[in-house]
Amino acid sequence: MATPLKRTPLFDAHVKAGARMVPFGGWEMPVQYRGIIEEHRNVRSAVGLFDVSHMGEFEVEGPGALSALQTLTTNDVAGLDVGQVQYSVLCYPDGGIVDDLTVYRLAERKYLITVNASNIDKDFAWVTERCAERKLDARWTNVSARTGLIAVQGPRAEALVGRLADRDVTRIGYYRFADGQVAGVSVMISRTGYTGEDGFELYAPWEATERVWLALLDAGAADGVAPIGLGARDTLRLEMRYALYGNDIDETTNPLEAGLGWVVKPAKGEFIGREAIEAMRAAGIPRRLVGIEMTERAVARHGYPVLAAGRRVGTVTSGSYGPSVDRYIAMAYLESAHAAVGSAVDVEIRGQGKPARVVKTPFHPPHVKKSA
């Protein structure tokens, strides 16, 4: 018998709004409200609200907090300002990925990391055990159960959040955050997201999350705001070629293969996985996660084989119809010899090879706000 599914503070609001609820990473989450394609377009053209309260948050503080993050994550945390956010990964010694995450510097010696919902227990055990082994003076607290999270994404997001905030949110730059009040609730306002659109992620106290959600829906009516399910969250991130843990990256994939070399900073010093990653960099990266586009109508899905001249050269990790690009797109690991843009391959769908080619990514141009 499976363990009962957990519910976010917005569960009742989703049910009331007519969402279709599905199990996801141990949680009962809305997959769609009105339809995935309509919701996807709502985010690209106006603004959408996502309940991502299922995601995990850990605080780490103390004299050893920076050392802990430098040892555990691949990116260089030393240069991170208070108020700045960084995307990164946690690796095993063999270079496989424990999880991907964002790192927030809250104060001089205090950080917050945000991890994937399905990895919360695994990650917390990983970070605390590795710190204990190394006798690092860093205190970890799992604050997931008291932290709600709402993503507000789309070209109207800044206007909407700005209307309810007690501070000028236009001054918060991309991958920066600030404390403030939204709808009278103290939240952390982070200019981040997973859609390729401008927008914010609002970290709120669990019990006040619904108040923020309902206020955003109410205040955003004229902006065309709508609640958006996990279905559209997936197609939006796929069009950006953002990796999803469990689909595109996991303990068997290396950050270099996944195209995440930009968050691997060996120059910062020792970190878990560094030797394995550097050995792969020196020896050559055997396969690469690339974007492919089907040249005829067909949906490539996770696990489908990819062939070149009849020989298997890779595997699809994510795939769908991309509503904004109006094409059938996918991500796949391909042997490096077949990974160049323009390379022709076939995706095996129900025993039949369907033609595809490697294309430049992102599939859809991002509209994140780069300066402030």
Binding site: V31, Q32, G35, I36, I37, E38, G231, T235, R297, A298, V299, R301, S320, Y321, Y328, R350
Partner: protein
């Protein structure tokens, strides 16, 4: 409750069948398209091919799911809805009309009468639909 036209017959796999002279028109029900969500791909057999009752004749894919299509009756496919290749969303918009999938000339007269009536299909859905 989903729309279940009284003049059609149904399968437990959520296809509908409509007798039109000596042929049978086939599609998926309103309930099926609601459960699938946005349809983005439909794969149908070629005109002239044979289908068998209770066997798969094609595939319908939504953003999230892949589902087999099951033939309500056995026979020869005399026409397919070519519009669905370019505009699969018609299945969502008009499942009993422009979203039809096949016209079949049945090879066995009795199979159609074995299909669920609208009332039986409604009952089947009320019991959970699977």
């Amino acid at each position: 409750m989903s729309d279940i036209p009284a003049d059609l017959r149904y399968t437990r796999e959520h296809e509908w069948a409509k007798r039109e002279g000596d042929r049978v028109r086939v599609g998926i029900t309103a309930y099926a398209q609601e459960q699938l969500g946005d349809v983005v791909f439909v794969e149908l057999p070629k005109k002239g091919s044979k289908v068998s009752a209770h066997q798969t004749f094609g595939v319908v894919e939504s953003v999230k799911a892949v589902s087999d299509l099951f033939a309500p009756v056995s026979g020869e496919v005399t026409d397919v809805n070519g519009d669905l290749a370019q505009s699969p969303q018609i299945v969502n918009q008009d499942p009993y009309g422009r979203g039809w999938m096949l016209l079949v000339t049945p090879s066995s007269a009795g199979e159609f009468d074995q299909l669920l009536t609208a009332q039986q299909y409604q009952q089947f859905l009320a019991e959970g639909g699977h």
